[in-house]
Amino acid sequence: MIVLAGKRLLAMLLIMLVVSFILFSLFESDKMAVAGKVLGAYSSLEQRELWLTQNGYDAPFLERYLQWVGGALHGDFGNSLQYKVPVSELLADRLKNTGILTLVFFLIMIPLSLTLGVLAGMKEGSWLDRVISVVAVLTTSIPEFVTATFLTGVFVYSWHLLPGTSSMTGGFSWKELILPVMVLVIYDFGYVTRMTRASMAEVMTSQYIRTAVLKGLPYKRVIMRHALRNALIAPFTVIVLQLNWLLSGLVVVEVFFAYKGFGYLLVDAALFGDIYVIEACVLVAVFVAVFSQFISDIGYTLLNPRIRFS
């Protein structure tokens, strides 16, 4: 178990290292372009060269890369070109907002999709199963910003119930959180529901469930005590792996509702050419994605004693 965790951790570090190298080469291998971005398109050549010397850009590429990685490990990503504040401050604030959104999303999505998945998988082929499966396919195939458009049309423009943007300028507001969370839940619950359903349906056809039913246990007890325990292992992995998938969705939803989170910051930075912010955001996103993969691998092994990766 520890060997496995160590191996996975090593692979994770290697991936982070390569990703950071790719990022750094993409955005900072051309020094002049960096100076141009920092000082503006109309800065003179002398100004750019002076700035490069002052900021240690004369060092060889590899040395600069190592310095940059060292800084990044301490949370020092330089200053944002657009907002003129340290990237780490900006990022910490935005990550907090995204964290709130993600937490509320998971608190609603997990119970909902597990319940629906178990209900559908308990009796494969029943009308309830069919309805849930069809709804899950439909909602998952429609992209977030299309769902968001329809929901905005109904709740904001027609019924005037909810605000159409969630910039939270007047402090934290639950009302502004409803639409972003709703869009994310509608888009994402289908996948987890389908996985739970498949897992549950498979468990329900297994021998030990038949034995439990045949020996006369109450149906409720068979489901709660026997079936659920095994059926919920696969959805656990899916939910954790969902984080990678969710990050893409978060970007779109945050931009749609102008929610001041991490995804909004990234797109904003990409449109402005704020390279230090882009680097920091992407590193964080890839770290979250890789780390969730690690957690899901380890968790799956812990939860399911039958599986041991060698």
Partner: protein, 299 residues
């Protein structure tokens, strides 16, 4: 040796015809899946619209006429704005149909490029094994660790927004996934007798990979390609919505939505119509893929 080549040449056309016939027979099986039929119909509708775009009596999609016209309003030149006009006064029907053409062309092209790259990587990793496998798999893992949209954003931020950038972005994001599927299929296929036969015949590894292995891996790949076309349409529209996609003023469904949503309060149709168009096309790809999977599981 020469006689055996001749023999193959004689047989080749017959075999190919049978292959094509089989393919169409398989394709016709879609009739047995109602879900697949609905999906195929939705896609066919948009493909026909896209193909007919130059001949249909449409206004120029970029021509600026009367802004915020309602559905079915009369145009100044005596025609009709069947679906109204947008905030700049451009004909929405025309923009949706030309937008369909654009998104379908770029999505097909991008998916095709991603498939070529992904299949080559996959067949190489699966057939060669060893170091080739390690290296290709590691590269794939690197790109798979990026969330899809974030990879697209980095690529657009470095290369600038254009159709070609979208192709590059989709290739980087999709090829590793295609590679994994193909690698898995090839690992299974390469133990078959006909591969040993080819090896014994002395065929080159590339001949075996491209002519013997890839064609036999096509079954699951067709379902995946269908799903992936849908994802690519979503990706292109999403990038357009984020302002990072195909550059304006040419019509793009994602960009149309981005521009229309803030004005939805007094011109709802300008945002509902592109949203519905996008939803129907993507639903089409998903339903067709579901239908194809259902049929392929049956035999």
């Amino acid at each position: 040796m020469s006689s055996s080549v001749k023999l193959e040449d004689e047989k080749a056309p017959v075999k190919r015809e049978a292959g094509l016939k089989l393919f169409f027979k398989r394709l016709a099986l879609i009739r047995e899946s109602p879900v697949g039929m609905v999906g195929a119909a939705l896609i066919l509708f948009w493909v026909v619209m896209a193909v007919l775009a130059p001949v249909l009596p449409l206004y120029d999609p970029n021509a600026i006429m009367a802004p915020f016209q309602k559905i079915g309003a009369a145009a100044p030149d005596g025609g009709t704005f069947w679906l109204g006009t947008d905030h700049k006064g451009r004909d929405i029907l025309s923009r949706i149909i030309w937008g369909a053409q654009k998104v379908l062309i770029w999505a097909t092209f991008a998916t095709f490029v991603a498939y070529v790259v992904g299949m080559l990587m996959g067949v190489l990793a699966g057939y060669k094994g060893g170091w080739a496998d390690e290296i290709v798999s590691f590269i794939a893992n690197i790109f798979l660790s990026f969330p899809f949209i974030i990879l697209c954003i980095i690529i657009v931020a470095t290369l600038g927004a254009s159709g070609w950038t979208v192709v590059v972005a989709v290739t980087f994001a999709s090829a590793p996934q295609i590679m994994r599927i193909v690698r898995g299929l090839v690992l299974d296929l390469k133990t078959r007798d006909y591969i040993f036969a080819a090896q014994t015949r002395g065929e080159t590894p590339w001949y075996i990979m491209l002519v013997e292995l890839l064609p036999n891996a096509r079954g699951p790949l067709i379902v995946d390609a269908c799903l992936r076309l849908g994802y690519t349409v979503v990706a292109i529209a999403t990038l357009g919505f984020l302002g990072l996609g195909l550059p304006p003023p040419d019509p793009d469904w994602g960009l149309m939505l981005k521009e229309a949503v803030p004005l939805g309060a007094f011109a709802g149709h300008t945002m509902y119509l592109p949203a519905a168009a996008l939803a129907s096309l993507i639903l089409g790809f998903n339903l067709l893929a579901d239908g194809l999977r259902e049929i392929s599981l049956r035999d």
